[in-house]
């Protein structure tokens, strides 16, 4: 795993250059699969066959400020088009506003972003899976809503605002909605009577059969349990530094992101 604080440009294409090409693909499991997927668009692959991980992230960065992303099961780098199953390609787009200062955490199987501009977190990739024979890439992040920035990693699935979806669930179903363990409980408190904090990776379930798929790697879902949090504060715990984000909308949905 690797963490760094990146400074990412505002213009079209900057997120490809500053984030995905400069940081994400430095992990050997991530690569540029199609560098000509469109104007200011590329497709990246996360491939770790021995561990049953293989998915594609199409990143359309042909506009300022944000990227539109889609997750695909396969990709045709000659025809420059997705193949097979996908999520994010419908009217309700997945948008990632990774501009300015961004906390970037990259592991073999997922990218975790903590964005300073809108105080939102984004999760692209696998959880720490309970069944490692299953390929289950998630997208948890922003949707169509470009003005009311709820923090997706502290909230729950809402079409357009804060999608929580998996490309495939454990049964191979496409686009299944996900939920954080404890869902919208406002009682997810993390502060101890010593003034320290306890953050634990959140368990995620699929919302059809209520089966737990795995832990969000480095994300503690806190919902509206504010505990005096402020956007952007970093809390040092026994297991490392955690970034606190709640979104910039008036209603804050808090999450802690482990900066590793």
């Amino acid at each position: 795993m690797a963490y760094e604080f990146a400074r990412i440009g505002l213009a079209a294409g900057d997120r490809l250059a500053d984030l995905w090409d400069a940081i994400v693909v430095s992990n050997a499991k991530w690569s540029v699969f199609d560098a000509a997927a469109g104007a200011n668009a590329k497709t990246y692959r996360c491939n770790d066959a021995p561990n049953n991980v293989d998915f594609y992230v199409y990143v359309n960065d042909n506009q300022a400020d944000f990227s539109i992303v889609e997750l695909w099961g396969d990709w045709d780098e000659v025809g420059h088009a997705g193949v097979g199953d996908s999520i994010g390609g419908t009217a309700d787009k997945f948008r990632i506003h990774s501009v300015g200062g961004v906390h970037v955490c990259v592991s073999d199987h997922r990218v975790l972003l903590g964005c300073s501009w809108n105080a939102m977190g984004y999760y692209i990739g696998q959880p720490i899976r309970f069944d490692t024979t299953k390929n289950m890439p998630f997208y948890i992040g922003g949707g169509d809503n470009t003005s009311n920035f709820y923090n997706a990693l502290g909230r729950f699935h809402l079409v357009g605002d804060t999608p929580w979806q998996t490309l495939w669930d454990h049964l191979g179903n496409v686009g299944v909605i996900l939920g954080p363990w404890g869902y919208n409980s406002a009682y997810k408190f993390a502060r101890t009577c010593r003034g320290t904090y306890v953050f634990e990776d959140t368990v995620v379930y699929e919302n059809t059969n209520k089966i737990c798929l795995g832990y969000l790697d480095g994300v503690c879902h806190l919902c509206t349990a504010s505990q005096g949090f402020r956007n952007g504060e970093i809390i040092t715990c026994e297991d490392g530094d955690w970034l606190i984000l709640g979104g910039t909308y008036s209603t804050k949905y808090w999450a802690a992101l482990r900066l590793q």
Partner: protein, 273 residues
């Protein structure tokens, strides 16, 4: 630590027998502090000056009736006058309201008992109610509280309805008592609740066919600070397809499922140790 499965009838004194045998006889930290009480009543002390923080609390157990024992927690006891020595308010004598006295169901039939130097868990196998009395725990790497926060998460006068306290950790009418003798800032009779209360979206089943179990963190309801966790209790909610007394084995440890007999299933898994 020990896990016991045994039976008794519902008559007076049977719960005291359990405590005498499985706590006092087995753990140097537990003692009978006042044996001069009326018939089928005793006061127990849990005292461990070497613990951090120091553990010292008293349980007044009134086991002089069938089906249940009344259990009260205090920070001191006068074993000459046979009464609460000095009322500081640091005690647990009721739940949601004054009439909701802490009860532990001990009906005729089997029970499970998990003993520990600083706490016990008693599970009645007729109503399938799991009760937690004593200290919470912290991961060894975390800073521990400076003062003790012993808790009572038990039933109340409505125990016969079958709600499982460890599946719904909060004060609830005459059904569940959930308090710490001392809260986060040292205040008495502090209500405690479980992390994630009262969500119904606390699922067990995993994609690999197993279950996901995690120790239950407990927070002080008045100021929302974590007091510690029930290391051997994973609290959830209404989790079919499990039934009372089912078990799962994780890394060699057996966890037993308890959900009560109430209409809504308030479920938990308890590690057998």
């Amino acid at each position: 630590m020990a896990w016991t499965s045994d039976t008794h009838d519902a008559s007076a004194g049977k719960f005291i027998d359990v405590l005498d045998t499985l706590l006092v006889a087995a753990h140097a930290t537990w003692s009978v502090y006042d044996a001069g009480m009326p018939a089928n009543e005793k006061v127990y002390r849990c005292y461990d000056p070497a613990a951090a923080p120091v553990v010292d609390f008293y349980l007044h157990v009134k086991d002089n009736q069938v089906d249940y024992a009344e259990v009260l927690m205090y920070d001191s006891w006068d074993n000459v006058g046979h009464s609460y020595a000095h009322d500081t308010g640091l005690k647990v004598i009721y739940g949601a309201a004054g009439a909701n006295v802490p009860y532990i169901c001990k009906k005729n039939g089997g029970y499970y008992f998990s003993s520990h130097d600083h706490r016990f868990i008693y599970i009645d196998k007729t109503e399938w109610e799991a009760n937690y009395v004593g200290m919470l725990e912290y991961p060894t790497t975390y800073q521990r509280p400076r003062i003790q926060h012993p808790v009572m998460i038990v039933n109340s006068t409505g125990y016969a309805s079958g709600p499982n306290p460890l599946g719904r950790v909060l004060n609830w009418s005459n059904l569940i008592v959930s308090r710490a003798m001392m809260g986060a800032r040292g205040q008495g009779m502090a209500e405690v609740r479980q992390w994630g209360a009262t969500s119904g979206y606390r699922y067990w089943g995993c994609a690999d066919g197993g279950v996901h179990l995690r120790p239950t963190w407990i927070y002080c309801y008045s100021n929302l600070l974590l007091l510690g966790r029930m290391r051997t209790v994973a609290s959830g909610y209404d989790q079919a397809p499990f039934d009372n007394d089912d078990t799962v084995t994780i890394d060699g440890a057996v966890w037993r499922y308890v959900e009560g007999t109430y209409g809504t299933r308030f479920s938990c898994f308890i590690k057998q140790e």
